[in-house]
Structures are given as C-alpha cells and as structure tokens.
C-alpha cells in the first residue's frame, strides 16, 4: 500500500505517521501543501496531526484552502480513502469532507492522555480489524476536540453507521472527555471513504509504551 501523508506549516505528526505505516510494511510519501496533485498510485491519503497554520482563526480553517486540499477533495470525491487524525480531522471537517465541527474542549484545557475508546461501527475500511463494542486504548492530545453536530446531523450519523468511535471508560461506558456530542471521538462520511478521529493511532504501536491498539486500526486499510 502506498500512503501519502500531507504536510502543512505547523504539522508535527507526519513523521510518527510515516513511521507507523512503514513499520506495517507500507511505502510512504510526504507531500508538501503546495503540491497541486497527488501521486497516481496513492492508496491512502493521511492528513496528520499538528497545528497547521498555528491554529489561527480556527483549527484547520486555513489549511483547507491550500492547493493540495483541492487534489485531496477530488481524490475523496472519486472514492479515494482519506484519514484525518486530530488536526487532520479538524481540516477535513472545515473542508466539508466530513460532517460536523470541532470546538474548544469544554474544560478549555489541552487534554493529553491515553484514553479508552469504544468501537461503534467496524463495518468500514478503517476499523474492519476491530469488532463492534471493542474497547481500544489510544492516546489523545488536543485542545479543540469537542465534536459538535446538530440533532438532525447526529441522527443521520447514527442511521448511516457513520460514528466510528466514542470515548468510554475501561468498562465501555461513555465518558465526557472534551464535551463532544454523545462522546463522539471519530466519524466517517456517508460513502465511508473519508475518516476522521481525534485520537492518535500512530502513537499506539508498542504495548511497552502503553498500547499497540493503533496497529489494527491502521492495518484496516490494507484490505
């Protein structure tokens, strides 16, 4: 699999993401935001975490106007797979590739810790190696992860199986981490080829460092 990883000014998770996919045996390529096209052989585009454009105005709001995002939109609209992690999730919502928006955390803090997540829908290209209701342990690190969508949007997400992950405790019960609507941690688009989540699977590759649950998440795209 060839994984293309985007870089904006202020991106800082591109090398972790590259390390993760190469560890799983994939070829990776870092692409600067001024590129006008994606390589023809792209199997997956990852918009990694960080603070693109210093989070000015709103997280992800400036990055979505960069030239490479035009190519990413075309790629996604023709069925290509796109994964946005953390700031990447914010960019994809700002770009309209994913529904909803990410607001400042309810407690106004930057939250950085390992967090339990419950798999809500595994019937997609991303979480197919996980099972529904499975509890994962993945680091989170964000200030603007408070997922918002209105009631109509939420019922559409639920009806279409677009909710990927929710924050939970060790028993799988929902917990309020950042104020997200129904504790949502990740969603996908209705066509199920664009995915976004606040947690960082690329930081969960070694059990000795806390968790290796990120491996099966990223491996999902191999099928």
């Amino acid at each position: 699999m060839r994984v293309v990883i985007l870089r904006f000014p202020g991106t800082n998770c591109e090398f972790d993401t590259q390390y993760a996919f190469e560890k799983l045996g994939h070829t990776t390529e870092l692409i600067w935001h001024k590129e006008e096209s994606l390589p023809e052989y792209t199997d997956l585009v990852v918009v990694p975490g960080g603070f693109s454009y210093g989070d000015y105005l709103r997280s992800g709001s400036i990055a979505r106007f960069s030239t490479v995002m035009k190519a990413v939109k075309e790629y996604a609209n023709s069925g290509g797979r796109v994964l946005g992690i953390c700031n990447g999730f914010q960019i994809l919502t700002e770009a309209g590739l994913l529904p909803g928006a990410l607001k400042r955390n309810n407690n106004l803090h930057f939250i950085s810790k390992i967090q339990h997540l419950k798999v809500v829908n595994s019937d997609n290209a991303f979480l197919n190696r996980c099972s529904d209701e499975e509890i994962l342990n993945i680091p989170i690190a964000h200030a603007d992860g408070n997922y918002y969508i209105d009631d109509i949007g939420l019922s559409e997400l639920e009806a279409n199986g677009q909710i990927l992950l929710r924050y939970c405790d060790a028993n799988g019960d929902r917990v309020v981490v950042n104020g997200s609507v129904t504790s949502i941690a990740g969603v996908c688009n209705i066509e199920k080829n664009v995915f976004g989540l606040m947690p960082h699977p690329e930081r969960a590759l070694e059990s000795i460092l806390g968790s290796d649950d990120g491996i099966k998440m990223l491996q999902g795209f191999e099928q």
Partner: protein, 79 residues
C-alpha cells in the same frame, strides 16, 4: 470603507469560554449576569466605498473562511 465582523458561537451551541468567564464574574460577586458569550472581532479595510458591493464581498468572506457556519453566526457592520 471598514467592515467590522463579529463571529460568535450559535445560540444553543455551548460556549465553554463564555461559561468560564461567567463563573469567574460570579465568583467576583458581579450579580445579575444571565449569560456570557465570547466571540471574535475581525476588522477589514476595504478599497471600495460602495456599501452593497462591500456587504456582498464580506458576506462571501464570512461564509467561506471567517466563520464556520456549522457552529458560528456572524454580524457585519460597515462604516
């Protein structure tokens, strides 16, 4: 001409910064505060002196970049 744009979270969307400021004001014994909302102000100097043209242009700026209309509303004042 100058455009003064105020961007703030929509009614019904919880404003955590406003809430924190609200609690802080109450803890300082300021009474009778019903609600606090925090937004941001963007001031744009425009070349045009045509109000209609400016209004259209600035609305377009708000819809595409300056506000995220999923969670935010905006007001425009031209002076």
């Amino acid at each position: 001409m100058k455009a003064i744009i105020n961007v703030y979270l929509k009614e019904g969307v919880l404003d955590p910064q406003g809430k924190a400021a609200h609690h802080a004001l109450e803890s300082m014994n300021f009474k009778g505060i019903e609600d606090v909302r925090i937004g941001k102000q963007i001031i744009i100097k425009l070349e045009t002196e045509d109000k209609n043209e400016a209004q259209k242009e600035v609305e377009d700026m708000c819809e595409t970049l300056l506000a995220n209309t999923v969670i935010e509303d905006y007001t425009i004042e031209l002076i």
